[in-house]
C-alpha cells in the first residue's frame, strides 16, 4: 500500500467508484429511455424481463456477448479493434475532473475545463477511425460526417464553456461550482444563453437527434457502427449513452451549480445526481420528439448561428465581469 502514491490511490478508489456508478447509470439509463420512449409513443417499453423490464439491460448485454465476432476481411485490424474501447475510455476519462460532491472529485485539476474540452475533442477520433477501418462505404460516410460535425460543434461548446470560467475566474471545475454555490447558479442569470448553446453543442457532440447524422439509420444503415457486431457494437452503444450522461454531468457542474442545493437544502452528491438525470431526461425527450437535420443544415446552424452568438456571449460576459463591481453589483 505504501508503495502506491496517495494521488494514484485516491484516483483508483474514487475513479473506480465513480466509473462504476456511471456505468450502472448508463445501463439503467438505457432502460429508462426505452420506457420513456415507449410512453411517448403510446406503448409500454420493455416489460417481460424482470419487473417492468428492469433486467432488460442485463438481457441486452447477454445477447450482445453471445454474438459472433466478425471482423471484415479488408478492415484495418488495429484501428477496427481499438476504436470501440477508445470511445468508452475517452468518455469515462472526462468524468475525472467533475466534482460529484463538495470537493470530491477523482482529480481536482486546476485546468479542469480544459481537460473536459480536450477530451471532447479527442472523442471524435475513435468514431472517425471506426468509420475508416470498417472498409465499408456507409461507415466511411458516417465517420466523415461525424468528424465534420464533431469539430464544428466543438467551437460553440468551448466558447460557451468559457462563460462559467470567466464568471468564476478559474478553470477548476470545483471552483466554478463553489462560485455558483456562493453566488447564484449561472443558468439563472447571465449564463442562460450560454447554457442553451452548450446544451445544443453537447447534443451534437454526442450524436444525438436532431444531430445524429453520423449514425443516421435510415440513410447509412448504422453509420459508423455498421460493421460492428456483438460486444464491440455494445461498447459503441454504451459509449453513446455514457457520453450523454457525461455531457449532462458537465453541464450541471458548469451551469446548474453541481452539488449545490436549492432552497438552502444540504449540498451533496444527491443534487449532482438529480441534475444530471434531469438533463438526461431532457435529452431523451428531445431525441424521441424531433426529426434530424441534414448535414449541411447542421453545419449552417453551427457556423452562422451558434459560433457568432457564443463569441458575442464571451465578450458580453467578460464586459459584465469587468464592469459589475463598478456598477455596484452584488
Amino acid at each position: 500500500m505504501n508503495a502506491i502514491h496517495p494521488i494514484v490511490l485516491h484516483g483508483l478508489i474514487y475513479g473506480g467508484a465513480i466509473a462504476t456508478v456511471l456505468l450502472t447509470l448508463t445501463a439503467w439509463g438505457i432502460w429508462f429511455e426505452r420506457k420513456f420512449a415507449g410512453r411517448m409513443q403510446s406503448r409500454l417499453g420493455p416489460t417481460l424481463v424482470g419487473w417492468v423490464g428492469l433486467l432488460q439491460p442485463l438481457a441486452d448485454a447477454a445477447k450482445l456477448l453471445q454474438k459472433e465476432d466478425l471482423i471484415p476481411d479488408q478492415a484495418d485490424r488495429t484501428l477496427y479493434l481499438a476504436s470501440p474501447p477508445l470511445t468508452v475510455f475517452f468518455t469515462l476519462a472526462t468524468v475525472a475532473v467533475i466534482p460529484v460532491s463538495v470537493d470530491v472529485a477523482v482529480a481536482n485539476l486546476p485546468i479542469g475545463v480544459l481537460w473536459i474540452l480536450a477530451l471532447g475533442g479527442l472523442m471524435v477520433f475513435p468514431v472517425w477511425t471506426a468509420g475508416w477501418a470498417s472498409a465499408n462505404k456507409y461507415a466511411l460516410l458516417g465517420g466523415m460526417r461525424a468528424v465534420a460535425q464533431g469539430i464544428s460543434y466543438e467551437i460553440p461548446m468551448v466558447l460557451s464553456a468559457l462563460v462559467p470560467v470567466i464568471f468564476a475566474g478559474s478553470m477548476d471545475v470545483n471552483e466554478i461550482v463553489t462560485w455558483q454555490a456562493e453566488h447564484h447558479w449561472l443558468v439563472l442569470g447571465p449564463g442562460l444563453f450560454a447554457f442553451v448553446i452548450f446544451f445544443v453543442s453537447s447534443l451534437a457532440e454526442a450524436n444525438r437527434i436532431p444531430f445524429d447524422i453520423p449514425e443516421a439509420e435510415s440513410e447509412l444503415v448504422a453509420g459508423v457502427t455498421t460493421e460492428y457486431s456483438g460486444m464491440r457494437f455494445g461498447l459503441f452503444y454504451m459509449a453513446e449513452y455514457l457520453h450523454t450522461l457525461v455531457a449532462s454531468a458537465v453541464a450541471s457542474a458548469l451551469f446548474l451549480g453541481g452539488w449545490n442545493g436549492l432552497f438552502g437544502l444540504a449540498d451533496g452528491i444527491h443534487w449532482m445526481l438529480a441534475k444530471t438525470l434531469a438533463l438526461f431526461f431532457m435529452i431523451t425527450w428531445v431525441r424521441w420528439s424531433l426529426v434530424r437535420f441534414r448535414s449541411d443544415q447542421l453545419m449552417r446552424l453551427c457556423w452562422t448561428y451558434l459560433v457568432p452568438i457564443s463569441l458575442a456571449l464571451v465578450m458580453v460576459s467578460a464586459l459584465w465581469v469587468y464592469y459589475e463591481p463598478m456598477l455596484g453589483g452584488h
Binding site: I209, I213, S218, L220, V291, R292, R294
Partner: protein, 397 residues
C-alpha cells in the same frame, strides 16, 4: 421518355460521366436492395462526389414474382387474392381494379350497394395508406430510433382502427379477398357504421398531432422544402399520376375526371399544390387524408340497401369464361392511376385471361428518381424516395 423530349425539357439524367470533372473522384454507393429505408427491395446506384449525388441509376425487379404470368394459369375467380399482394399497402384498391377489369370483360353489372361499399372501402384504404406513408416518411427523416419513430407509432395506432373495421367486415386485417366479380363477398354487419364514425372522428382529431410532428415542424420543413422539385411537364412525360402529379400543380384526379362506381354521386375535392417539392407532396397527401375521412363518412351514411353481388357467387373455379374481348379499367389508388388491361380467351377453356397487364403507378413514380436525385445529398435521396411513396410489390409485381 425519349432523347428528343429530354432535350426539349432540358433534363438529362443519363449524364455522361466523362463530362464530369476528372480531377474529382466519384464514389459509387449502392443504396439497397437491403436498406432500412428503400421502401421495399429497391436499389439505387449512386455516383457520389463527396456527399453530392452526380448520377443515380435505379434498378427495379427485386420483388418480381411473376404475378401477370401466374394469373394466366389461374382463373378469373382465383385472381383476387393474388393481386391483393401487389400494392400491399392498400389492398382494397387492387382488388377493386382487377374485379372492375373482369366485370368490364365479362359484362357483369355491379349492384348499387356494392358500388358504394367498394368506394367506401377504397377511401378507407386511402386513409390507411396515407397514414402508413406518413409513418414511414417520419422514419426516413428521424431514424428508427428517434423522433421519426414517434410519428410512425402514432400513425400506426390510428391505422389499426381502420384495419379493425375491415376485420369486422371481411374477417381479415389485411389481404381481404372481399371483392368478387359482380360485387363484394362480405356484407356490412350491424353497428359497423357507428364504429366507422367513431374511428374516423378519432383519426380526424389526431391529424393535428401528426402535423405538429411533421409539416408544422421547422426541421421537417427544412428537410423537405425545395428538395426534389418535380416540374409538371416532366411528371406528365413520365406518366406520373396521383398525389405526386397534383403536388406539381396539375389538377387531375380520376375520381373526379373519370368517375367510376360511386364517385359520380359524391363530390371529390381535389387537393393540389404548386411547388412540386417534397413538402408539397406531404401537404397534398395529408390533405387527401382529411378529404378521404370526409368522403368515407358521407359514403357510410349514404349506403343504399340491396344485393352486394351482381354476378353468380363463386362456386366453381371455371364458372366465368371469356372467349375473347379486351378491357382496360383505370382507377385512382393512393399512389396514382392503377390500370388493368385484360384480354380474354386464355387457357382453361377461356376461364383464365389470355394476358393480364397491370399498369402500376409506383413504377412511373420511380422513373422520376434519376431526375430528382441529381444534385442532392444522400439525406435528400432518402427523403425524395419517401415522398414518392413507391410500393415495390406494385412496381415489380
Amino acid at each position: 421518355m425519349t432523347l428528343a423530349s429530354a432535350a426539349r425539357l432540358g433534363v438529362d439524367p443519363h449524364r455522361d460521366l466523362t463530362d464530369y470533372d476528372p480531377e474529382a473522384d466519384l464514389m459509387v454507393l449502392n443504396m439497397g436492395p437491403q436498406h432500412p429505408s428503400t421502401h421495399g427491395v429497391f436499389r439505387v446506384k449512386l455516383y457520389l462526389d463527396g456527399e453530392t449525388i452526380v448520377r443515380a441509376v435505379p434498378y427495379v425487379g427485386y420483388l418480381h414474382r411473376g404475378v401477370e404470368k401466374l394469373l394466366e394459369e389461374l382463373t378469373f375467380v382465383q385472381a383476387t387474392p393474388i393481386v391483393d399482394k401487389n400494392d400491399y399497402v392498400s389492398p382494397m384498391t387492387n382488388e377493386q381494379a382487377i374485379n372492375m377489369a373482369f366485370e368490364a370483360l365479362l359484362e357483369v353489372e355491379v349492384p348499387r350497394r356494392a358500388r358504394y361499399m367498394r368506394t367506401l372501402f377504397a377511401e378507407m384504404s386511402r386513409i390507411s395508406s396515407h397514414l402508413l406513408w406518413l409513418a414511414t416518411f417520419g422514419i426516413d427523416m428521424g431514424g428508427a430510433l428517434g423522433g421519426g419513430t414517434t410519428l410512425f407509432l402514432h400513425c400506426f395506432r390510428e391505422r389499426e382502427y381502420i384495419l379493425d373495421l375491415f376485420e369486422l367486415v371481411t374477417g381479415a386485417r389485411f389481404h381481404y379477398n372481399t371483392h368478387t366479380i359482380g360485387g363484394n363477398r362480405h356484407d356490412i354487419p350491424a353497428g359497423w357504421a357507428k364504429r366507422v364514425h367513431q374511428a374516423l372522428d378519432l383519426i380526424a382529431s389526431r391529424v393535428d398531432e401528426y402535423l405538429d410532428l411533421s409539416t408544422k415542424n421547422a426541421i421537417f420543413v427544412a428537410r423537405t422544402r425545395g428538395v426534389g422539385t418535380l416540374p409538371a411537364k416532366l411528371a406528365l412525360e413520365l406518366g406520373i399520376t396521383g398525389p405526386i402529379l397534383r403536388a406539381s400543380g396539375v389538377d387531375h384526379d380520376l375520381r373526379r375526371d373519370a368517375p367510376f362506381h360511386a364517385y359520380d354521386e359524391i363530390d371529390v375535392k381535389v387537393q393540389t399544390e404548386q411547388a412540386g417539392d417534397c413538402l408539397a407532396r406531404a401537404h397534398v397527401r395529408i390533405r387527401e387524408l382529411s378529404e378521404s375521412i370526409r368522403l368515407s363518412k358521407l359514403l357510410v351514411d349514404g349506403l343504399p340497401e340491396g344485393p352486394i353481388c351482381g354476378g353468380r357467387p363463386i362456386k366453381n373455379p371455371t364458372q366465368f369464361k371469356a372467349k375473347d374481348g379486351q378491357a382496360y379499367v383505370a382507377l385512382e389508388t393512393p399512389r396514382g392511376e392503377l390500370g388493368t388491361y385484360v384480354i380474354g380467351g386464355g387457357g382453361n377453356k377461356g376461364a383464365s385471361p389470355y394476358r393480364l397487364k397491370i399498369r402500376p403507378p409506383s413504377l412511373h413514380a420511380l422513373a422520376a428518381m434519376p431526375y430528382l436525385l441529381v444534385g442532392g445529398t444522400i439525406s435528400d435521396a432518402v427523403v425524395i424516395l419517401g415522398s414518392l411513396d413507391p410500393i415495390m410489390g406494385e412496381a415489380d409485381r
